[in-house]
């Protein structure tokens, strides 16, 4: 009776519409505005991006502190007033500091469009960095830092990036308790003046964009300029640690956090889409080899993941999991065993088909709706790329061969190059 249930309904081919129409507007001062006009609700998202990420900082915490202090008082508003007005208009603000870029994302109802732009001029270009608010923020963050340092996943993760990129490079440098006391208003003002320049700003606007938006952007931002300030080229070089294997003992821990991987290529490299594909197969989705082996067969962990990250100056591959202490050794062995299998045995047709389709589905989700599209665009724009990257990705997904995957595994998952960090 239930025989018909054994056969899956026909699976139809589907395609991600990755070539989204987009307008580029250049404001009077040279700032770029990308417009992604689609959506069903009267709501907008604007991302403001600056080359003000951690890579620019000459002291730990500087990029992040500057960014977080921008809502803590400006020329015309105190911190309290500013936060009150933002909340009053139901404006959601996410302050963002990443390795290469920093800025903010704002979501708001269209009816408050002009008010939002007025407030953003204050936040982005007229912050005052008052000392009292800075002290409060630093004390607060020091408290968070101490709590986070108690988590084995943070201990292992921070040490992993330090090993891969070096303890002096902003990509790898670990924050210390003493760094929090080093943040003073003049340093933040200087960092802000150098890296939050209105003419170097990029805006990615998405949602139901009103027809008058372009004029408003010009009116609020187009006339803003800044003084020329000499910025020295960073002397930081990426130098990985010599010691590849580190265990950090954590008293009282009942799980061990594992981080395994190395530096790698970034999105500008032609092998990158293939590497993404291989990563997914290994540990990038629920049906991945690592999840099947270490969670679904052995029950060692709640989750195990493999990820590929892309930065301006480098990239990284990393396998991460938390396992019961007694299983840590065996989990590490199994991770290496899975990688060696990728080096030696070509991927079978069925598995290849599943990964192709799952990843194609991911691409559809990455382009579902204005806000997802904006995120996907930013992820390639910051590498000087455009939507062609995703067309290439779709092509890789559809056509990559078992031999190509074998070669990628041998080239990029080289166990001798791997760092193996455990904490627990």
């Amino acid at each position: 009776m239930t025989g018909f249930r054994r056969i899956q309904p026909q699976v139809y081919p589907f395609d991600a519409r990755v070539d989204v129409p987009m307008k580029l507007l250049t404001l009077g001062n040279g700032a770029s505005v990308f417009l992604i006009e689609t959506g069903t609700e009267e709501i907008m998202r604007i991302e403001f991006v600056f080359r003000a990420g951690m890579v620019q900082e000459y002291l730990p915490l500087l990029a992040n502190s500057t960014n977080m202090m921008m809502t803590e008082g400006s020329e015309n508003y105190t911190a309290e007033e500013l936060n009150n007005i933002l909340d009053y208009y139901g404006i959601f603000l996410n302050m963002i500091t990443e390795k290469d870029t920093a800025g903010l994302i704002v979501y708001f109802l269209n009816k408050h469009f002009e008010k939002v732009l007025e407030l953003l001029v204050e936040i982005l270009f007229r912050p005052e960095f008052p000392e009292n608010e800075l002290d409060i923020l630093m004390n607060k963050r020091l408290n968070w830092f101490r709590i986070n340092r108690e988590k084995v996943q943070n201990i292992a993760g921070d040490r992993f990036f330090e090993s891969v990129f070096g303890s002096h490079h902003p990509y790898g440098r670990q924050v210390q308790e003493s760094d929090f006391g080093g943040m003073i208003p003049s340093l933040l003002k200087d960092f802000h003046a150098k890296f939050y320049k209105p003419e170097k700003m990029t805006m990615i606007v998405s949602g139901q964009i009103p027809g008058s938006a372009s004029d408003s952007f010009e009116r609020f931002f187009g006339g803003l300029g800044s003084k020329e300030i000499y910025t020295e080229d960073s002397k930081n070089r990426i130098i990985g640690a010599h010691v590849k294997k580190v265990h950090i003992e954590k008293k009282g821990a009942i799980q061990t956090a594992i981080r395994i991987g190395s530096a790698s290529i970034n999105k500008r490299h032609p092998d990158y889409p293939g590497l993404k594909f291989l990563n997914l197969l290994l540990g990038g989705y629920f049906g991945s080899r690592l999840m099947k082996n270490i969670r679904e067969e052995k029950g060692f962990t709640y989750g195990i993941h493999s990820s590929v990250s892309s930065f301006d100056l480098s990239g990284s591959i990393m396998i991460s999991t938390e396992v019961g202490k007694k299983n840590a050794g065996q989990a590490v062995d199994e991770i290496y065993r899975e990688i060696k299998l990728l080096h030696s045995i070509p991927v079978g047709r069925d598995e290849l088909e599943v990964v192709r389709n799952y990843m194609a589905g991911e691409m559809v989700r990455m382009f579902d709706g204005p806000f997802a599209i904006a995120e996907s665009f930013k992820a390639v724009w910051e590498f000087g790329l455009n939507f062609n990257y995703f067309i290439g990705m779709m092509d890789t997904i559809r056509t990559i061969t078992p031999d190509e995957i074998l070669k990628l595994a041998r080239d990029y998952y080289n166990i001798d190059d791997f760092y193996e960090i455990t904490a627990g």
Partner: protein
């Protein structure tokens, strides 16, 4: 405004569809009216363990995830005190695969001892990862049994104790399935690029032949009114003290639900929330402080939780929180502050509706509450709350006798 159509199959399955042709995807949400409150007190954590077992394949479909991934889809699930909720999204071309997968495991999952053993072990690691191996991770495990004496909300979804999970047998699993995983006890919501007619046809084709079953009658003991303040202090190896306070409130459909929702937003919604302003910014007592309602279907909790700055005395912090609470009772809100909280609520409501998955989940929840149309009246209901209602509710509920406090203290080690 979220448009929807409803339909009920002969076997009792409720089906709701929201068509949204702006997306290439379809989201499916399937809600089972069974949560940790339905567990045997000696087998707590069962509903959540069961959720894991639903992914173990069936006689007809040996692996759940594989065909879904082949169709370009992805899925996840969660369990809470009231419900177990499964959801997936996939390209609309392949929507039928979702109906096929979900109907098959509602009909007859394939439990085996081996699969049960592996998932017990996975859930044990989840227990460790989320609750035991995190600073403050066990706070909620301590707070619930302190606040509730009787109602099954007294235990957390993960379970009261790891040993309960270890003791679950295959018979317990089969029994839980036949009691709750039946069409008459489930709600299927579909949102996205699919016409309602087509969704109903597919629902009837795949779910229609599943036997109706008999739902186990729900007889939950009511929580008696709390008449005495409760307090507990624990010491843990953490960097700084933390404070947890909770008060009993009404059910999800009680009159004061929206008032409480607004009240907690007022205290902790956004950077300008009162608790944050007074206790983090002005007095530097806390590094973070939050207030929220548990949104349970049966009478739930209002919770305030905060991490203290290093060296701050817990009694002083507790007193400072009480001062903020007392202000709510002593003065009526300004219309400006009231309007602020309402505007924020409206924004987040619109934002939430940009996601088909959120829409499918919300339609399911509101159907469970009796009317999916409630979803479209949430902003209106929230806007109807007045300053006087906030004051009255605070006076009535936020009393010392109704309060439970947990002092989570940093040990000297």
């Amino acid at each position: 405004m979220i448009n929807f159509c409803r339909f009920r199959l002969d076997n009792g399955l409720r089906v709701i569809v929201n068509e949204d042709s702006s997306t290439p995807l379809v989201a499916m949400n399937i809600l089972y009216d069974a949560g940790s409150k339905d567990e045997d007190p000696s087998l707590t954590g069962m509903a959540h363990l069961f959720e894991h077992l639903m992914y173990c394949g069936t006689a007809s479909i040996p692996e759940y995830d594989l065909p879904l991934q082949l169709a370009g889809g992805e899925n996840n699930a969660f369990t809470n005190n009231d419900i177990t909720n499964y959801y997936l999204t996939l390209p609309s071309e392949n929507a039928e695969t979702a109906f096929w997968l979900e109907s098959d495991r509602m009909l007859e999952p394939g439990f085996t001892q081996k699969k049960l053993d592996v998932q017990k072990s996975v859930v044990t690691e989840e227990f460790k990862q989320r609750y035991m191996n995190q600073p403050y991770g066990d706070a909620m495990l301590l707070l619930r049994p302190l606040a509730y004496s009787t109602h099954p909300y007294r235990w957390p979804t993960i379970g009261m104790d790891i040993s309960h999970i270890e003791n679950v047998t295959l018979d317990n699993v089969r029994d839980f399935f036949s009691s709750y995983y039946i069409p008459d006890n489930a709600i299927l919501a579909i949102a996205g690029n699919i016409a309602p007619g087509k969704a109903f046809d597919l629902a009837a084709r795949w779910f229609g032949s599943i036997p109706q079953g008999i739902r186990k009658e729900r007889k939950l003991p009511a929580e008696p009114r709390q008449t005495l303040e409760k307090k507990l202090s624990v010491e843990r190896y953490v960097p700084s003290n933390a404070l947890y306070k909770t008060w009993h409130m009404g059910s999800r459909l009680s009159n004061e639900y929206h008032t409480f929702d607004l009240l907690t937003d007022l205290l902790a919604g956004g950077e300008s929330g009162r608790l944050h302003n007074r206790l983090v910014r002005e007095r530097n007592l806390f590094s973070e402080i939050n207030a929220y309602i548990t949104s349970d279907i049966d009478p739930g909790l209002v919770i305030i939780s905060g991490k203290l700055m290093k060296g701050i005395d817990i009694f002083k912090a507790d007193e400072a929180v009480n001062e903020v609470i007392n202000e709510l009772k002593d003065s009526v809100l300004s219309s400006h502050e009231l309007e602020k909280v309402k505007n924020r609520f409206e924004s987040s409501n619109v934002l939430s509706n940009t996601s088909i998955l959120n829409k499918a989940m919300n339609l399911s929840i509101y159907e469970l509450l009796g009317d999916p149309g409630l979803m479209n009246r949430e902003v209106e209901n929230f806007r109807a709350v007045s300053g006087e209602m906030v004051r009255e509710t605070a006076i009535r509920f936020l009393t010392t006798e109704n309060c439970t406090t947990l002092y989570y203290l940093a040990s000297g080690k």
